[in-house]
Symmetry: C2
DNA sequence: TCATTCAAAGACTTATTGTATCTATAATAT
DNA sequence: ATATTATAGATACAATAAGTCTTTGAATGA
């Protein structure tokens, strides 16, 4: 159980986009090269962020990606959920009489983590950011 | 990124062992049947718990598994680490100038979850347990 | 001692997911 | 129109999850 590399790419890309001009988009080529991954693969990841409404894409010459308007509210959890999905990290398959107490504990633990990720915004990173 | 089923098996087995007699071991057959999984597979999982020092195995007739002495100190995190390993959930591969601020946030989040899992002991479950 | 009962260990499947790449298509600015 | 760029789909490969089968070896009871 580990976060996927795609999440790493997504987080770093978002941070880069946050620091960049809110007007002129950045091409996926540049974003991909920066992280040592193929443009088409990164594009596929970023498309999920587009669908989640966090960024928007611009086709054609001088196209690329830029943050959407609500940039100051984007949290780590938003990004992670867009890439990894929102399913629970732990799922008890057994049929217990009532609720599974083990699952309850696991869920609480997960919520602690999510709470921290929800309280940390992209904006909080921007000052001390260091992507290169 | 999800916890494996093996972790689910391990947690439920541990809870069952906690509730059982501290003297007479329970055979893997019974433990496996209870959870609808093959004995050899469950055995493989339990061997990791043995090596982690949480339970002990008894060979031969009337053998099986039982909790080790320090049963009251066993935490959820102990069990999970024995099965899933102790590696960080998030690893930034890039070569940043200094520390990766994104990874720092992820690590903090992970620690919140682990903290909760470390503070919850098997013992805390026993009263309200419900495994069948 | 000998057969039986049990866990341990390793080799081996099979399915699923992660991690990509390549090609073709659609959109856009010049 | 044409060059440039994102999108989508097909495909490939690797790693991990999930589990079975078989052999080995230890303990016990008769």
């Amino acid at each position: 159980m580990r976060f996927t590399k795609a999440t790493n790419y997504a987080l770093h890309t978002m941070l880069k986009l946050f620091e960049a001009s809110p007007v002129k988009p950045i091409g996926v080529q540049e974003l991909a090269e920066m992280q040592g991954v193929s443009p088409t693969y990164l594009s596929k990841i970023l498309t999920r962020l587009v669908k989640a409404g966090m960024i928007e894409s611009v086709s054609g010459v001088n196209g690329g990606y830029r943050l959407s308007r609500k940039k100051d509210d984007i949290t780590f959890l938003d990004i992670i959920h867009a890439i990894e999905g929102t399913a629970s990290l732990f799922e008890c398959n057994f049929v217990h009489g009532d609720e599974c107490t083990i699952q309850a504990v696991m869920k609480e633990a997960e919520e602690k983590m999510e709470s921290h990720l929800k309280n940390t915004k992209l904006m909080d990173m921007a000052s001390k950011a260091n992507i290169s």
